[in-house]
């Protein structure tokens, strides 16, 4: 056996999931990440959101950050980028990975844990239609998904209509209590089920019961401002446990610039924060730098210059709906701030053509993010929002990746280095599909007693929804283990691998795929799946 390590590039959810089986098998693993630290974890004494909102001392600091970073203008992105992310993180990622964008809002970060520092933790498993290819069997995926679910902790239910959309047969913790609006919707749905609109509990990678060092959710309602109890899964939380293994090394603060074939393996070239060059000879390299950064590294390693590759996204829309019967009622003192419910709306034309959505209780979000696009005066909009709050529901609708038409192209710079140029765009089907989805969701919600607020549905610009993948599809650009044909020993293990980008959230599936590849590489003699 070679004593050169297996290098994993990236400590996000994909990199960590790929690393675990290798580390457990005792293989030498070096994880390289450009980020040094994770995003700050809020102090444990942070009061519940409902308390902060009623003027608890220090509310300004808790909700806007000690440096008032919460005052940045981050319209057009998830509110979490304003409330929980340090300034300028997006630019550092694009610059560090030589990515230029046009019409595409690239979100990425150099941080331990990658974007799981920020994510909404919605965790569904792709089914056969979602995967859309025969390159891997669903059962293999399910095997890995179970092991990932056990490791990170998922909450949800296995017995409502949405359970089969999220994936059956996974270990689940009990879900957090529903907010009044979500509970009312579920009651109404129970008496009026429909075939083309399925509603149920959301499923998320958030603990409701303690797991290791992480504590279960106490429903403080402050999810949008990061979790002080670490209930929301962040792959950075797994780094100490990984580092406890002597065969695991974390190289933090090292940016990978290139990966190249070397004599009988793969070499990773990069530099540390002080600009010193780093050169690692590896047995294998697993790319998990986030789908877009991985695409550049992989295209360059395979010499695929100037080729146009798809950068699939699941176009997203945000909307607000109101449940009149809840107006004037009390707001819950404790709540869960991430998605409460999930839905699947059929778009016709095949079982892979559906919109997937999440519903949030508006009271767990900051008013400014909700009023940003209202044409009223700021004071009027704030008043209106506060008045409507008990009955207000905020939703996200994701459309299938076939509606996106963003592409990437690797360009050689005059000095020999590379850059990835991304051009954002929607497919022709986007607008009709968007209209169809809004109409379908509005009609379904109306049946359940909630009214879509006119003019509230807003599409994100391509990229801002942060569902990236599909540039190096499994079984086409790579073999079934993510290995690039052109560069033996170099594997893609993140979203870039996804053969399709369905409307469903993809990260949990990406983690399962990464686990599957890691497990395979840990036992090269045979398949671990029995």
């Amino acid at each position: 056996m070679s004593h050169r390590p297996i290098v994993v590039v990236g400590s996000g959810p994909a990199g960590v999931s790929a690393a675990w089986p290798l580390v457990r098998a005792g293989l030498p693993v070096v994880m390289v990440d450009a980020g040094r630290d994770r995003f700050p974890v809020p102090p444990p004494e942070r009061p519940a959101f409902s308390v902060l909102r009623r003027g608890a001392p220090g509310a300004l600091g808790h909700l806007l950050g000690a440096n008032l970073d919460g005052l940045r203008d981050m319209r057009g992105y998830s509110p979490k980028l304003r409330t929980s992310a340090p300034p300028d993180f997006i630019n550092a990622y694009a610059a560090g990975n030589a990515i230029r964008t046009e019409g595409f809002s690239l979100v990425g970060t150099f941080a331990a844990g990658g974007l799981s520092n920020l994510w909404g933790a919605a965790a569904s498993l792709f089914d056969r239609d979602d995967l859309g290819c025969g390159a891997i069997g669903f059962d293999e995926l399910l095997f890995s998904a179970r092991s990932v679910a056990k490791r990170i902790g998922l909450n949800g239910v296995d017995d409502d209509d949405m359970a089969k959309v999220h994936g059956l047969g996974l270990p689940l913790q009990p879900p957090p209590p529903l907010a009044p609006g979500a509970a009312a919707l579920m009651r109404a749905y129970g008496s009026k089920p429909a075939s083309d609109f399925i509603l149920g509990r959301a499923r998320s990678a958030v603990l409701c019961v303690d797991l290791g060092e992480r504590q279960g959710c106490n429903c403080c309602g402050g999810c949008m401002w990061s979790c002080p109890r670490r209930s929301i899964y962040n792959s950075a939380d797994e780094l100490p446990a990984l580092s406890a293994h002597s065969n695991f090394t974390l190289l933090a603060g090292v940016t990978v610039a290139r990966v190249v074939r070397s004599r009988d393996g793969v070499a990773v070239l990069g530099h540390d924060a002080e600009g010193r060059e780093i050169h690692i000879e590896a047995d294998r390299v697993l790319l998990a730098a986030g789908a877009v950064a991985t695409t550049r590294l992989a295209l360059e390693a395979s010499g695929r210059w100037n080729e146009v590759v798809p950068i699939r996204t699941a176009p997203a829309l945000a909307f607000a709906a109101i449940m009149p019967r809840l107006l004037g009622s009390a707001l819950p003192q404790r709540s869960f701030g991430l998605a409460q419910l999930a839905f699947r709306a059929d778009l016709g034309g095949g079982s892979d053509n559906y919109a997937f959505g999440l519903l949030y209780a508006a009271e767990s979000m900051a008013a400014p993010d909700l009023i940003a696009h209202m044409p009223l005066s700021r004071r009027g909009a704030t008043d209106l929002l506060r008045t409507l709050l008990p009955g207000l529901i905020v939703g996200l609708i994701y459309l299938p990746g076939e509606c996106s038409a963003s592409t990437g192209r690797l360009i050689r710079n005059p000095d020999g280095t590379s850059r990835l140029e991304i051009t954002g765009g929607f497919a022709e089907s986007f607008h009709p599909t968007r209209r169809h989805a809004i109409t379908a969701v509005a009609a379904a919600l109306r049946r359940l007693g909630a009214w879509l607020l006119p003019g509230s549905a807003k599409a994100y610009t391509p990229g801002a929804e942060v569902h990236y993948g599909g540039s190096l599809p499994l079984g086409q650009a790579t073999d079934t283990w993510g290995e690039l044909q052109a560069v033996p020993g170099l594997h893609v293990v993140d979203g870039a691998l996804l053969p399709r980008m369905p409307a469903k959230h993809h990260t949990f599936t990406v983690m399962a795929l990464a686990d599957r590849i890691g497990s395979h590489l840990a036992e090269p003699s045979g398949t671990p799946f029995t």
Partner: protein
């Protein structure tokens, strides 16, 4: 080398800082003025005015340069016997008699033969006498900055009191110069070892329209907008003469109006280069004359936070706003409508309807204020206030917003 400079009008708007600057350079200074300047080392003073003879003792200690800055504005005499004309002549003769090698006259850009106002004509006439070796005319532009005195005070007051100003010759070019730059320039003329010209222009080489100048003053000194309505000269002068002929309690000074109408511009670039003098940039200099940026941001914070909440904001919010603008915006205060500054609730009528167009514009700042107020707010009804109250609040908000909308559509439009 220490010099001995004699400065007339040493307690005026220009004279006072000029004296201070000369002393700071280590020069000896003799001041001729009506008022006694504060006692300082290396400073002598003799009481003098343009109608008096120069005391002989002033020349006993040999003077290297005379800097003639004194000017008497009111005169009861006919123009050819103007106090300035005769007094300056006497001063020049005395200096020549005392053998002073250099004489610098503080004159004006507007000095010329046949100038429309007396000031310009008199200054020109005095300058005409400066024919000897070492006798120099400094043609000074529109002086600004420093203590609110003289014409600077008038302009500051004018731009402070009016939101709308009818004005003749709105497009006439003026050439500003900051008081400190002017003093430095005058002292450099005194110190020049060789004189290659008889006349130095001390004024910004690029003229700006007088109306623009006033608008800049309003914006940077008072943080407000000023609207100028240009008036045609001839009808305005006629109307003024008619008005002055009538027994009205106020009269308009024709002298001032004609001074404005007759403004000329001169080319000063070469003179400034010869003096190696770089004038400060006008807008930053004006900004520095106004209240500090922090101070203005605080006033803005008061107004915007009050507008998005309904009560006077507590200090914690004000501080967050100022820090927020300094950190996430360009850190400069906005020019708010004066109505809204006085009554912040009315700012809502100026709020643009569409989304913010530039980072840090009014809409973006209002949003920032709303974000702060929300994070620090207490106005959430966690106990629920019932359907009736909710419907009433919705109705009220709808009425107010509907009423505001036409105002916002007009007043909230982006201004150039």
């Amino acid at each position: 080398m220490t010099r001995h400079v004699l400065i007339t009008g040493g307690s005026g708007y220009i004279g006072e800082p000029l004296v201070a600057k000369a002393l700071a350079k280590g020069w000896r200074v003799t001041v001729l003025s009506r008022q006694r300047p504060p006692k300082r080392p290396r400073l002598r003073w003799f009481p003098w005015s343009l109608t008096k003879v120069v005391p002989q003792e002033a020349w006993l200690d040999p003077v290297d340069v005379v800097l003639h800055v004194a000017h008497q504005w009111e005169s009861t005499r006919p123009e050819h016997e103007d106090e300035n004309l005769l007094g300056s002549h006497a001063l020049l003769m005395a200096a020549r008699a005392a053998g002073v090698p250099r004489f610098v006259l503080a004159s004006s850009v507007s000095a010329r033969e046949g100038a429309l106002n007396r000031y310009g004509r008199v200054k020109w006439a005095i300058g005409r006498e400066m024919t000897g070796a070492g006798e120099i005319v400094a043609r000074i532009g529109m002086v600004y900055g420093g203590p609110h005195r003289g014409q600077w005070k008038t302009l500051c007051a004018l731009t402070a009191s009016f939101a709308l100003l009818p004005m003749i010759c709105a497009g006439t070019g003026v050439q500003p110069i900051h008081l400190d730059d002017l003093c430095e320039g005058l002292l450099r003329i005194c110190a020049l070892s060789t004189l290659d010209r008889r006349c130095y222009g001390l004024a910004d080489p690029t003229p700006i329209a007088f109306a623009t100048w006033l608008r800049l003053l309003a914006r940077h000194i008072h943080g407000k907008n000023l609207y100028i309505v240009p008036l045609p000269l001839q009808p305005a002068v006629m109307a003024m003469r008619v008005a002055n002929a009538l027994p009205l309690p106020v009269t308009v000074s024709e002298e001032r109006v004609m001074g404005l109408a007759g403004l000329t511009t001169i080319d000063t670039a070469a003179d400034l280069a010869a003096l190696e003098l770089t004038l400060r940039r006008i807008e930053p200099a004006l900004m520095a004359e106004g209240p500090s940026q922090r101070h203005r941001l605080l006033a803005e914070a008061h107004c915007l936070l009050h507008a998005v909440g309904s009560t006077a904001p507590p200090p914690s919010r004000l501080a967050a706003y100022v820090r927020g603008i300094e950190r996430h915006s360009d850190g400069t205060a906005l020019v708010l409508p004066s109505l809204a500054r006085r009554c912040p609730s009315l700012l809502r009528a100026f709020e643009p309807v569409g989304p913010s167009r530039r980072p840090g514009d009014l809409k973006a700042r209002l949003h920032m204020a709303a974000t702060i107020a929300d994070a620090d707010g207490t106005a959430y009804a966690y106990e629920g206030d019932g359907l009736a109250a909710t419907l009433w609040r919705l109705f009220r908000t709808a009425c107010v917003e509907a009423t505001l909308m036409p105002f916002r559509l007009i007043l909230g439009r982006e201004r150039p």
